[in-house]
Symmetry: C2
Subunit: 282 residues, 2 copies
């Protein structure tokens, strides 16, 4: 496995692979890798011939007062994980490498970035869309792999790729969970043992939603009320939303594919999770 | 020469050329081609192995009340011109092909898009940056060719390409002029014979600027005053600006490379022009 610190160097590794007719897979990450990321790298390994993993804590997607400084950066461990999972190149640039001059260019996806996490994290998805565009231009992958856990990010990146005619495929991999249902996240390491227990309620609330839909309930209001009952004793709720999976618009009644999404704070740690609900299948 | 109406088809022509090791040149245009465009196609012919010309009157860069509907679309003549100038493929998509769904994704270059034409045409450069990104993703050129006449567009596209790590080179070709100095533009065909004569004052004012700088004048205020004297009798002045060539910020004193830029209305036709001024060379 190669470690590329510069754009030039990752481009040259990719060009060598492409010249051999290899299909390029790309897994963008902020490092602090866990089994969720590993599942993405393994999916890339399975579906492409040359796997690039980026590790970059992107400053432009953090707001003031968020955890940019404190965000974990265990590079050596991350490199070990990438190697074991089958990456060919890890691209771990500095902030200076990615933003050498004052950046004036932003990619903004309207509407999809307004609700859910967009409401509490203004500018977050603009930073995500912009850095993904940069990475896609640098790596030029055939397929990029994202986790369903960041459902809004998935919707934003998919729409951006379609609108801007990016010639790559976006593959979305299922959320990986701990035994108690807690979605795996780099931020879980901020949690105390008790908080981790409490955090199990997040998935419990999503399962409750799933169950109510299975029982035939389609109105979102009573579902959200039940989810709130599960979450409010253990967390500060930022949002509990049931939205259309494509437009991310709040819906009153579930029809087609919807996303039930939750953001809460447990202690001082912000956690998100979601499930897809398909009433045709459910 | 091939005519591609769809993204799929232009991509397949380009892929065939690239698989033969050919360097791809790209000239984006709105059609109504003139000798300015021909100079761009010829530059592409000279510097690359496979030349793609796009012809697309991009709706998202026109404001309400601008000349989108009336903008000339002489496709047959344009195709003849492209063929003679040495294009390999003309990509002439429909608006539906370029914007099949409601577009929600915009590429915005801050600061550079605010002054000059950006002031009177809000949203114009956002449309330009977005459609250029789309074309660059579709054609994936090694070099894209732009005319210096649209100086602000050049600055915006260059900054965008750098900020977003687009892996292409932007080559800027000099403005082509009529005998009387009038910069060649598709919009010149809107002018009456008298207006065309009057329009010669635009380049006259820029030459005046050049001359004053040569004489050692560095303050922009007296230069602009003289330019105004030349332009005001024959036109409605939108702006006369002397700006830094990189930042496009207004400067009081010329140092390094500057741009003297003018936008006026002659009759009902809006015309722009500019010259580069380099005080080290001048």
């Amino acid at each position: 496995m190669e470690l590329a610190k510069t754009i030039k160097s990752v481009r040259s590794w990719v060009n060598v692979a492409r010249s051999k007719g290899k299909k390029i897979g790309f897994v963008p990450t902020m490092g602090a890798l866990h089994i969720g990321h590993i599942s993405l790298i393994e999916a890339a390994r399975k579906n492409t011939d040359f796997v690039v993993v980026s590790i970059f804590v992107n400053p432009t997607q953090f707001g003031p007062g968020e955890d940019f400084e404190k965000y974990p950066r265990p590079l050596d461990t991350d490199l070990e994980i990438c190697k074991k999972a089958g990456a060919d190149v890890v691209f771990a640039p500095s902030a200076k490498e990615m933003y050498p001059m004052k950046n004036l260019t932003w990619v903004n996806v309207e509407k999809l970035t307004a609700p859910l996490c967009g409401r509490c994290r203004p500018g977050h998805f603009r930073g995500v869309a912009t850095v993904c565009t940069k990475f896609f231009n640098i790596v030029a992958p055939d397929i990029a792999f994202f986790g369903q856990k960041d459902a809004q990010q998935v919707a934003v990146v998919k729409k951006m790729a379609a609108d801007l005619n990016m010639s790559l495929e976006i593959v979305v991999c299922p959320t990986v969970r701990e035994k108690n249902g807690l979605a795996i996240s780099s931020r879980n390491r901020y949690l105390t043992a008790q908080e981790k227990k409490d955090a199990a309620s997040i998935y419990k609330s999503l399962r409750k939603c799933e169950q109510m839909v299975k029982e035939g309930i389609r109105e979102t209001e009573p579902i959200i009320a039940q989810m709130r009952k599960i979450l409010s004793p253990v967390s500060a709720i930022e949002y509990i939303s049931i939205v259309d999976a494509q437009t991310l618009e709040t819906i009153d009644k579930i029809a087609g594919t919807a996303i039930a999404a939750v953001a809460v704070k447990i202690g001082s740690t912000r956690l998100i999770d979601n499930i897809l609900i398909d009433v045709l299948a459910g």
